[in-house]
């Protein structure tokens, strides 16, 4: 099934933002076929365009490279009752995401070439958001034997992780880092000591005490991080800490970065826009892994983003079907959907005055793309025409039931946000567009 080749399209009259080059000003983009042929201020409101050029008037809204999300779960193959590749891609284009990286925790696990190629082929045929995949760091995500990282990287695995499982055994982590370094690959860790977190369902502290729920102490994150960072020093392997959520964890990463170690980290909107109070009266949509933390930790995450210590923001999209969430809090599954709210919630950082629009956008584009070496997240002549058009100030309310994601477990349900996706373009094809910012349709 070959996709139609798009014609020549001029996106004009835009506020053009390119975080990679720091450009923020009037401009436009000219795309031909699947590629960008030109962009810049010269393409702002040109009086005439060559014959046969489709003209898209951006109406002064923000035009930027499509968003890049380096941590999300596809659920296909294996858990299609939660989400499919097609459904996740629809949710992603609704969220302005043009490239994303899925975790290997499918069934079967992405620990061999065949499964990775299956996922890649499914996504390619669908032709919406580009889907990249992490390979499993250990076989079956069991944390015992290192997986075939070299062969997986040859067919496109962009990094290696055990997904929601921490690589707990220090020797296995040492070998994984060391082996990955052989090929210049990155190990992505879920930084949570499983022994300390065992049985815990929310952040440890006063609120957990009041609710009578078993807690996960913030040091479950920092202890594992500190161990890993020491192993990075020993092996020289590249290490990325996923969804950091605590002040002490961030401090550990700061020290490692100060030493010049090859260490990076990301966080998710949950951890800078929510704290444990979101659990309220046993709200299972707010049951996340790592758990929502206290306010001091949330502020530390904001500060980490503001200072540039945290390199990227990810959606941490984790679809759960209703049966997995309509349960007593302790029994409910962890995770929340986040693709469609990624930009709007991230823009809180801009609207609240923590950073510029360009800086916020960098955390969603060139920042994450650069961590994994993806050719995405920046405007480049000859590069893929992956674009997002959005109105940064337009207000809307997150209503879980109106999300296009198959699963509706949105921790931000009910939240008023600012920042509306107007159009998403992948390889020159408009895959999502609204006229008035309300009509969000799934075809």
């Amino acid at each position: 099934m070959a996709l139609p080749i798009p014609g020549r399209v001029a996106y004009v009259n835009a506020r053009l933002l390119d975080p990679a080059t720091g450009h923020d000003g009037p401009g436009g983009v000219l795309a031909e076929g699947e590629r960008i042929v030109d962009f810049g201020p010269g393409l702002f409101c040109p009086p005439s365009l060559p014959e046969g050029t489709e003209r898209v008037d951006c109406g002064g809204h923000c035009l930027a490279p499509g968003l890049v999300d380096i941590r999300m779960q596809l659920r296909e193959p294996g858990y299609e009752h939660k989400e499919s590749v097609r459904g996740a891609c629809w949710a992603a284009v609704n969220g302005g995401i043009t490239a994303m990286v899925c975790l290997p925790n499918t069934l079967p696990v992405i620990d061999d070439v065949a499964t990775l190629e299956f996922v890649a082929r499914r996504a390619r045929m669908i032709g919406l958001t580009k889907v990249y995949a992490y390979g499993a760091a250990t076989k079956g995500l069991k944390g015992v034997e290192i997986a075939e990282m070299g062969l997986l990287a040859e067919v496109g695995a962009v990094g290696f992780t055990d997904g929601l499982n921490a690589i707990a055994d220090a020797l296995v982590m040492r070998r994984a880092l060391s082996y990955a370094a052989t090929f210049g690959l990155t190990i992505v860790q879920h930084p949570e000591d499983p022994a300390l977190a065992a049985g815990g369902v929310m952040n440890e502290g006063e609120m957990a005490a009041r609710l009578g729920l078993a807690g996960i102490p913030p040091c479950a994150e920092s202890i594992l991080l500190m161990r890993d960072l020491r192993l990075v020093e020993l092996t020289g392997g590249r290490y990325h800490a996923a969804h950091v959520s605590t002040a002490e964890g961030i401090e550990a990463i700061r020290r490692a970065k100060d030493k010049g170690l090859p260490v990076t980290c990301d966080t998710a909107p949950f951890y800078f826009a929510l704290n444990e109070l979101a659990i309220g009266d046993y709200r299972t949509f707010a049951k996340l892994s790592p758990p929502l933390r206290g306010e001091a930790d949330r502020q530390a995450v904001v500060e980490g983003l503001r200072s540039g210590l945290i390199d990227a923001i990810v959606s941490d999209h984790a679809p759960q079907d209703q049966d997995s969430k309509r349960r007593p809090f302790a029994q409910a599954e962890f995770g929340g959907v986040g693709l469609e709210t990624l930009l709007a919630v991230t823009l809180d950082l801009y609207h609240d005055g923590h950073m510029s629009l360009l800086s916020a956008l960098r955390l969603l584009t060139s920042g994450p793309a650069g961590l994994l070496g993806l050719d995405a997240g920046r405007l480049r002549k000859g590069g893929a025409a992956d674009l997002v058009l959005f109105a940064p100030d337009r207000a809307w309310q997150v209503v879980a039931d109106t999300l296009v994601s198959k699963s509706k477990n949105a921790p931000f349900d009910g939240r008023p946000v600012q920042g509306r996706i107007l159009r998403t373009v992948v390889d020159g094809r408009t895959v999502f567009a609204v006229a008035d910012g309300i009509n969000r349709k799934r075809s």
Partner: protein, 313 residues
């Protein structure tokens, strides 16, 4: 012919470390003369008549033990093989007690292989006879390095200035360590090529260039020395799988094409075909000197036995 003992002024051969270029060259010269002898119909000489050699092997071995046995017998010595399975070691005797017991039998040479690094040296301190290290743990295997050197020297005419890539499980290899020492002493340029998990930390300090990619590691080398990778290291502990290892680090014609056109292929054996080396490459009569290495092994061990045992009065 008392000369050899003077040019090899050591009581034991415990390792390559500490030997001088002159000592190595003269051992190789002597070994070279035994290569010719071994190709004759009458291979027997009487230079070690009356000497007793014991092969004391605490690890399984076919070729090294046989090689030493043949070497000793061809020089006229009495050779006895002691296998760990039949020795009193399995009855709980300590290594030192074994040494003291054997020492009382008035041996001339003890050839020892032991799974622990340093065990051969410990034993050597407790006996009066000459001790040859037949491989100790992951430390040294000096006669292997000497036979490799003899093989190279006969083919290339020299050792100095050659570029040698040692590929595979360096971490667990005594062959690699002895070869690294010997080649450095003789002025060769040594590279190691392996995934990081199969390299010891600090290997650079032994005088090698470290490569993690065969495509750079084999470029323009004169010698490709492959190492055996044990099957049990291939299942996720050090390397994910046999197929991944073979894909990236196994020697096949594609990778070999990067080496010099006349590069030699070596392997200490036993080979795992399809693990670390492609069968076609291993059996290539133009390039592979793997069988020649075995032949040189007997000659080198004759030379070593000769210099250590003959001079004794």
């Amino acid at each position: 012919m008392i000369m050899e003992t003077e040019i090899f002024p050591h009581r034991h051969l415990l390792g390559i470390q500490g030997l001088s270029p002159v000592e190595i060259e003269s051992l190789l010269d002597l070994a070279d003369s035994y290569v010719a002898l071994n190709r004759e119909a009458d291979k027997k000489r009487g230079v070690l008549r009356g000497r007793t050699v014991i092969n004391l092997f605490f690890e399984n071995s076919t070729r090294t033990r046989t090689s030493f046995e043949l070497a000793g017998k061809r020089l006229g010595a009495d050779v006895i093989n002691m296998q760990v399975a039949t020795s009193s070691v399995n009855k709980g005797e300590t290594l030192i007690d074994t040494a003291v017991t054997l020492n009382a039998m008035h041996l001339d040479v003890l050839v020892v292989r032991h799974p622990d690094s340093g065990a051969v040296k410990l034993l050597a301190e407790k006996v009066n006879c000459a001790v040859i290290n037949g491989g100790d743990g992951t430390h040294e295997h000096p006669t292997q390095a000497l036979l490799d050197a003899l093989t190279i020297r006969r083919r290339k005419g020299r050792l100095s200035g050659l570029r040698v890539a040692i590929c595979g499980d360096i971490l667990h290899s005594r062959v690699a360590r002895s070869n690294i020492h010997l080649l450095n002493i003789m002025g060769a340029e040594v590279r190691v090529v392996a995934p990081r998990t199969l390299l010891p930390t600090g290997i650079e300090a032994l005088g090698v260039d470290v490569h993690h990619d065969m495509r750079t590691g084999l470029r323009d080398v004169d010698i490709v020395m492959m190492l055996r990778v044990q099957n049990e290291r291939m299942s996720g502990n050090f390397v994910p799988s046999t197929r991944e290892y073979f894909h990236f680090f196994g020697l096949d014609y594609n990778k070999l094409a990067l080496a010099k056109p006349d590069a030699l292929i070596m392997h200490p054996g036993p080979m795992n075909r399809g693990f670390e080396i492609d069968s076609d490459v291993a059996d290539d009569v133009e390039r592979s000197v793997i069988r020649e290495q075995v032949e040189m092994g007997v000659a080198v061990r004759m030379a070593v036995l000769d210099v250590l045992a003959r001079g004794k009065s």
